[in-house]
C-alpha cells in the first residue's frame, strides 16, 4: 500500500537493475530503508528499468512504493538491448503497452517466471502467482506486464490480485530479488537456480496468507425464484405475459412463419499417415527379494557412488563385470543409477575396451577362477563329493545307523529326504578349530534298512576297516606319530618320519580332517623325519612337531601358511638327538616363577627332557626362539644305575614319557636301556623311582586314564608290562608275539581295554575278558608294518598308522560295553593275577 507500510518492513529489497537512467522516462527514486544490500528502489513513473540480474532467477521484481509507483512495465531494456537489422536500422521492437501513470500497482507481489507470460492466460498468471506466493519471494509484479499481451481481462484480474495482496512477504534474502528484463514480448523462460546462502535458509521467513478476490469460473443463474421474494411479482407478471403471448401467437398477424436455411459446409475427407504405433508388452515379477535389494542398493549407492566413480577407471575388468551385473539386474530404481555411473566410466575407457575386449573376456574368466569365492566353492564341493563317497563309512564312524543306498529299481522317492547336507555350506576353513561347527553328517529322517537288526546274533568283537587317510604325498613314509586336536576331535595330525637311522629322509606333518579323507587340510614339509607331534590344549591351533634332528617346530594350523611359527633350531640348548615325544602339559604350579600355563615338554635321544616356554611377549609371528628354563630338567646319567658298565658316561636316550593325569608334577620316563623312571618336576637330579623290567628300549608308557595307579609300558623286547605305581615289580606281562611292540594306548572309554601294535598286527586287549590273550587281533598287509595306534575320543574307532604312510580307521564292533569306570574291578583282576 503505502510507502510507509513498506518502509516499515525491514528487509525488503528490490533490485534496481539498470540504473542507467533513461532520460526520457521519469524516474522516481526512492530508497527504502532496511535493505541489507545496496539496493535501491527506483520507481519509475512509467516503468521499472531493469536488467537481468546477475543472480538468480529472472523474475519480475516488485518495487513498491506507495501509490506513486505504478505498475511499471519493465519495458526497460529498450536502452540496454537494441536490435539492428542488416541495414543497421534500429528495429528494436517497441513495447505494445505503455502503462498509465495512475496504475496502482505498488504492491509487492510475487515473482512470475517469465515463461508464464509467453502466452499466459489469466489462470496461468494467477496460478503462478499463487505458486510464488508460497515461496515467499519478493517480486515485483508487473501487472501491466500481462497487459502487454493484450488481454484486458487479465490485467484486470491482475490488478485485483495485486491489490488483494496486502502485506507482502518480506524477503530477507537479498539475492532473491531479481529483475526481469523484458526485452519484450517474447520472453525466454529461463530459470536460473537461486544461490541459496546459508543465511537464506536459516532466516525466518514470514508467510502471509491472504484471500484473493472471488474468481468466477461459472455462473449459472437460477431460473427459479421463490414466491416470497421481492421479484416474485415481477416474475409472475412476466410469466403471465409470456403465456399470453404464446396464446396470441397462433393466428396472429404479427407472427409469421418463415423458413430459414442453414448452410452446411461441405465435408471433406482428409487422410493422414502416421507411423505405426508399436505396442510392446512388458512384464516384471516383483518379488520380495527384489524389493529388498532395491531398497538396500538405493542406500548403498548414495554413499559410495563418489568413491566408486574414482575407482572405476582403474580396473577394466571390474567395470566390465559391473556392466554384466547390471544386465542381469532386474528393473530397479537404482539400477539406472548404477548404469549411469558405469556407463560414464565406461565411456571413458571405451576406446581401450574396444581394443581389448577379447583379452578382457579371458581375464574375466581367469578372475573367476582365481576369486576367493571360487576357491571356497571348490573346497565345499570336494567335501560334498567326499561325503557322497564315504557316507556309509562316516556314518559308521559316528555310530549312526548306516544308510544303504537302495538299488535303482526300488523306491527312489524316499531317498530325497535323506541326504541333505547342511554343514559344508556354513563351514569355513577346516583349520579353525574354534569355529568348527558340530553339525556333522546328519542322516535326517533316515530310512533305515534294518539289515543289521533282524537276526539276534552275538558276533565276536572285531575290527572293521572304514577308510584310510592317505594320499600320494604320504606314500612311502612311515607314520611315526598321531595326535588328535584338543578342541576339534575330528582333526587329526599325523607325522611321517622313519624310525631308523639308516632310512632317514625328509618328513612330513599333515593335518587331516574327517571330512576329506583323501587330501590333508594342511601339509607341512620338513627337512627331517617327524618323530613326535602334539596339539596344544590352551591354543588349539598350535601344533608342535618334533623331528629326528632334534628340532622342534610350532605351526599354526589356522592359516594356510606352511612355515613354522616358531622353531627351535637356533636356540642354544636345542636337542641334539631325535625328539621322541612331545607333549603339552598344563602345569598346576609354576616352577620357575612362571604363571601356570601350558608348557611343552619333550624328550629326546640326547637324554634330556626339556621344558619349552613360549613367552608371552614373543607372539607367533616370524621365526623366534623358544625359551627354555634356565637349567635343564634332567640328566639321565647312565652311570648311576649301571655301575658295572663303566663305559663312556653317556646319557641314555629317552624314548618316551607320560605325565600322571592327576598330578602333573610326576611323570614317568622310559629310556633306551629299558628303565622306567618316575620323576618329579621339582627335582631335576634324582629319580623318585625306577622300574626295571624291560630288556629293551621302552617305546611307550601310558598311564591308565581311569586308575592312576596303573600304567602300561611297551618295549622292543616283545612285551607289554602292566605296572602299579607302588610296586617295583611288574604286575602283568603281556607277550603274545615275537615282534617289537611299537605303540600302546589305553582306551578312553574303558579301564580294561588297551590297544597295542607290533609290527605285524594290532591287538586289542580287554583285561576284563582275558589277561592272557588279546581280544581282537588284526593282521597287517604283508610288507606293511603297523607303527602307531590311536583311539578316537568320541567314537569307538581306532586309528592305525603303518609304515606305508596309510592311517587306517577301524571301527571296534561288538565290544562288550563294560562298566568303564570300574576301577575296583581292575584292581580285583590285578589282585587275582598277583595272587596267582
Amino acid at each position: 500500500m503505502s510507502s510507509s507500510a513498506h518502509a516499515g518492513k525491514s528487509k525488503r529489497h528490490s533490485v534496481v537493475v539498470s540504473v542507467t537512467s533513461k532520460p526520457e522516462f521519469n524516474m522516481k527514486r526512492t530508497s527504502i530503508s532496511g535493505t541489507s544490500s545496496q539496493r535501491q528502489i527506483s520507481h519509475a513513473s512509467g516503468f521499472h528499468p531493469s536488467r537481468i540480474g546477475s543472480l538468480s532467477r529472472r523474475s519480475i521484481l516488485i518495487t513498491s512504493d506507495g501509490k506513486t509507483m505504478d505498475k511499471g512495465s519493465l519495458i526497460g531494456s529498450k536502452h540496454t538491448i537494441q536490435v539492428f537489422d542488416e541495414q543497421g536500422k534500429d528495429v528494436t521492437p517497441r513495447p505494445l503497452y505503455r502503462p498509465e501513470p495512475s496504475a496502482s500497482l505498488h504492491r509487492q507481489s510475487k515473482i512470475l517466471s517469465t515463461q508464464d507470460f509467453s502466452g499466459a492466460t489469466g489462470s496461468d498468471f494467477l496460478s503462478s502467482l499463487s505458486m510464488h506466493q508460497t515461496s515467499g519471494v519478493n517480486a515485483s509484479l508487473v501487472g501491466p506486464f500481462s497487459r502487454t499481451y493484450g488481454s484486458s481481462s487479465i490485467s484486470k484480474s491482475t490488478t485485483s490480485t495485486t491489490e488483494s495482496i496486502a502485506d507482502e512477504i518480506v524477503e530477507p534474502g537479498s539475492r532473491r530479488d531479481t529483475a526481469i528484463s523484458l526485452s519484450d514480448v517474447l520472453v525466454r523462460r529461463e530459470e536460473i537456480k537461486e544461490q541459496l546462502t546459508k543465511e537464506d535458509i536459516d532466516k525466518r521467513v514470514d508467510i502471509y496468507l491472504t484471500e484473493t478476490e472471488t474468481i468466477w469460473l461459472l455462473d449459472m443463474p437460477t431460473v427459479m425464484v421463490s414466491i416470497e421474494s421481492e421479484d416474485a411479482e415481477k416474475v409472475k407478471e412476466r410469466n403471465k405475459d409470456y403465456i399470453e403471448l404464446c396464446k396470441n401467437r397462433v393466428g396472429n398477424d404479427c407472427f409469421v412463419e418463415r423458413m430459414m436455411q442453414t448452410l452446411n459446409g461441405a465435408p471433406k475427407n482428409k487422410e493422414v499417415q502416421c507411423d505405426k504405433i508399436l505396442m510392446e508388452d512388458k512384464g516384471i515379477m516383483a518379488t520380495s527379494w527384489d524389493l529388498y535389494d532395491s531398497f538396500n542398493a538405493l542406500e548403498t549407492t548414495l554413499a559410495p557412488s563418489v568413491t566408486e566413480r574414482s575407482s572405476r577407471p582403474t580396473s577394466l575388468s571390474s567395470s566390465k563385470s559391473n556392466v554384466t551385473k547390471d544386465r542381469e539386474r532386474t528393473m530397479s530404481i537404482t539400477s539406472t543409477d548404477r548404469e549411469s555411473i558405469t556407463s560414464s566410466s565406461i565411456i571413458d575407457l571405451e576406446s581401450v575396451i574396444l581394443a581389448r575386449i577379447h583379452e578382457e573376456e579371458e581375464d574375466h574368466s581367469e578372475a573367476i577362477l582365481k576369486s576367493e569365492k571360487f576357491q571356497q566353492d571348490l573346497f565345499f564341493m570336494e567335501r560334498v563329493l567326499m561325503e557322497n563317497v564315504f557316507q556309509p563309512k562316516l556314518a559308521a564312524y559316528r555310530q549312526l545307523p548306516v544308510l544303504i543306498e537302495p538299488v535303482l529299481t526300488s523306491d527312489a522317492g524316499k531317498e530325497e529326504a535323506v541326504t541333505e547336507e547342511a554343514e559344508e555350506e556354513e563351514e569355513e576353513e577346516e583349520g579353525e578349530e574354534e569355529e568348527e561347527e558340530q553339525k556333522e553328517i546328519v542322516v535326517g529322517s533316515s530310512i533305515l534298512l534294518d539289515l543289521s537288526e533282524a537276526p539276534e546274533e552275538i558276533l565276536p568283537p572285531s575290527l572293521e576297516r572304514l577308510w584310510s587317510y592317505t594320499c600320494e604325498l604320504t606314500n612311502g613314509h612311515n607314520v611315526s606319530c598321531m595326535a588328535w586336536n584338543k578342541l576339534n576331535p575330528d582333526l587329526l595330525a599325523v607325522g611321517y618320519g622313519q624310525f631308523g637311522f639308516q632310512e632317514q629322509k625328509k618328513g612330513l606333518a599333515c593335518c587331516w580332517s574327517l571330512k576329506n579323507p583323501m587330501w590333508p587340510e594342511r601339509i607341512y614339509q620338513c627337512d627331517h623325519g617327524v618323530t613326535a607331534l602334539d596339539f596344544s590344549l590352551a591354543n588349539p591351533n598350535l601344533l608342535a612337531v618334533g623331528m629326528y634332528s632334534g628340532t622342534i617346530a610350532i605351526y599354526n594350523v589356522q592359516t594356510h601358511n606352511t612355515t613354522a611359527l616358531l622353531d627351535s633350531s637356533e636356540s642354544f640348548d636345542k636337542h641334539i638327538g631325535p625328539v621322541w615325544q612331545l607333549k603339552w602339559i598344563e602345569q598346576d604350579r609354576g616352577t620357575t616363577g612362571d604363571d601356570k600355563g601350558e608348557i611343552l615338554i619333550s624328550i629326546s635321544g640326547d637324554g634330556r627332557i626339556t621344558k619349552w616356554l613360549i613367552r608371552k611377549g614373543l607372539g607367533c609371528t616370524d621365526l623366534m626362539k623358544l625359551k627354555r628354563t634356565a637349567s635343564e630338567r634332567k640328566k639321565l646319567t647312565g652311570e648311576k644305575e649301571k655301575k658295572s658298565e663303566a663305559l663312556i658316561s653317556r646319557q641314555p636316550p629317552g624314548m618316551c614319557f607320560d605325565f600322571d593325569p592327576r598330578n602333573t608334577n610326576i611323570y614317568l620316563a622310559g629310556t633306551e636301556e629299558g628303565h622306567i623312571h618316575k620323576c618329579s618336576c621339582s627335582y631335576n637330579e634324582q629319580f623318585l623311582e625306577t622300574y626295571q623290567a624291560h630288556k629293551g628300549p621302552v617305546y611307550k608308557i601310558a598311564w591308565n586314564p581311569f586308575s592312576t595307579d596303573m600304567f602300561l609300558s611297551c618295549s622292543a623286547d616283545w612285551s607289554i608290562i602292566l605296572w602299579r605305581q607302588d610296586s617295583l615289580r611288574p604286575i602283568l606281562t603281556f607277550s603274545s608275539t615275537t615282534n617289537v611292540v611299537h605303540d600302546i594306548m589305553w582306551s578312553p572309554k574303558s579301564a580294561f581295554v588297551f590297544a597295542a601294535v607290533n609290527e605285524g598286527r594290532v591287538e586289542i586287549w580287554d583285561l576284563s575278558v582275558s589277561t592272557l590273550d588279546p581280544l581282537i587281533v588284526t593282521f597287517a598287509n604283508p610288507g606293511v608294518k603297523f607303527t602307531t595306534v590311536l583311539f578316537a575320543r568320541n567314537t569307538d574307532c581306532i586309528l592305525i598308522g603303518d609304515s606305508d604312510g596309510i592311517v587306517s580307521v577301524y571301527e571296534l564292533r561288538n565290544m562288550t560295553a563294560s562298566d568303564s569306570n570300574k576301577v575296583d574291578a581292575l584292581h580285583d583282576i590285578i589282585g587275582s593275577a598277583l595272587a596267582s
Binding site: V389, W519, D567, E570
Partner: protein, 123 residues
C-alpha cells in the same frame, strides 16, 4: 645347518617378491590342482565351470553336454535362489544338490559363475 622352515620361508618370499602375477599363479596352481583332484574322484562324471553368460571356462565334458547342463542349471539356480530369497530376502542360496536315480548334480552358484559337478555315488 639350516632348519627347514626358514628355508621354506626364504623360497616362498622370493617367489612372492617376483610380483603379483606369481602370487596369482600360485593361487591358480592350487585351484587347478583342486579341480584335478575333484575330477579324479571316485564316481565323478564331469566338472563344469561356466561364467555368468553361459560360456564354459573349464569343463571335462563335451561342448554340447556342457552347454546343455549350463543352460538348464542356470535357470534352475535362478529359480531356487528366487525361492529362497522370497521367503527371507536376507538369505541366499549357497549350494544346490539334485539327486536323481542315476547321479547327483551338485551346483555351487555365484553371481559370476556356476560350478557344476556330476557324480555317480553308487559306484
Amino acid at each position: 645347518f639350516r632348519p627347514c622352515p626358514i628355508a621354506t620361508v626364504a623360497r616362498r618370499e622370493s617367489r612372492s617378491h617376483a610380483g603379483d602375477s606369481s602370487c596369482a599363479s600360485l593361487a591358480m596352481a592350487e585351484v587347478e590342482e583342486t579341480l584335478k583332484r575333484i575330477q579324479a574322484h571316485k564316481g565323478v562324471i564331469g566338472t563344469i565351470v561356466v561364467n555368468a553368460e553361459g560360456i564354459p571356462i573349464r569343463t571335462t565334458l563335451d561342448n554340447s553336454t556342457t552347454v546343455q547342463y549350463a543352460g538348464l542349471l542356470h535357470q534352475l539356480t535362478m529359480k531356487a535362489r528366487s525361492t529362497v530369497r522370497d521367503i527371507d530376502p536376507q538369505n541366499d542360496l549357497t549350494f544346490l544338490r539334485i539327486r536323481s536315480k542315476k547321479h547327483e548334480i551338485m551346483v555351487a552358484p555365484d553371481k559370476e559363475y556356476l560350478l557344476i559337478v556330476i557324480q555317480n555315488p553308487c559306484e
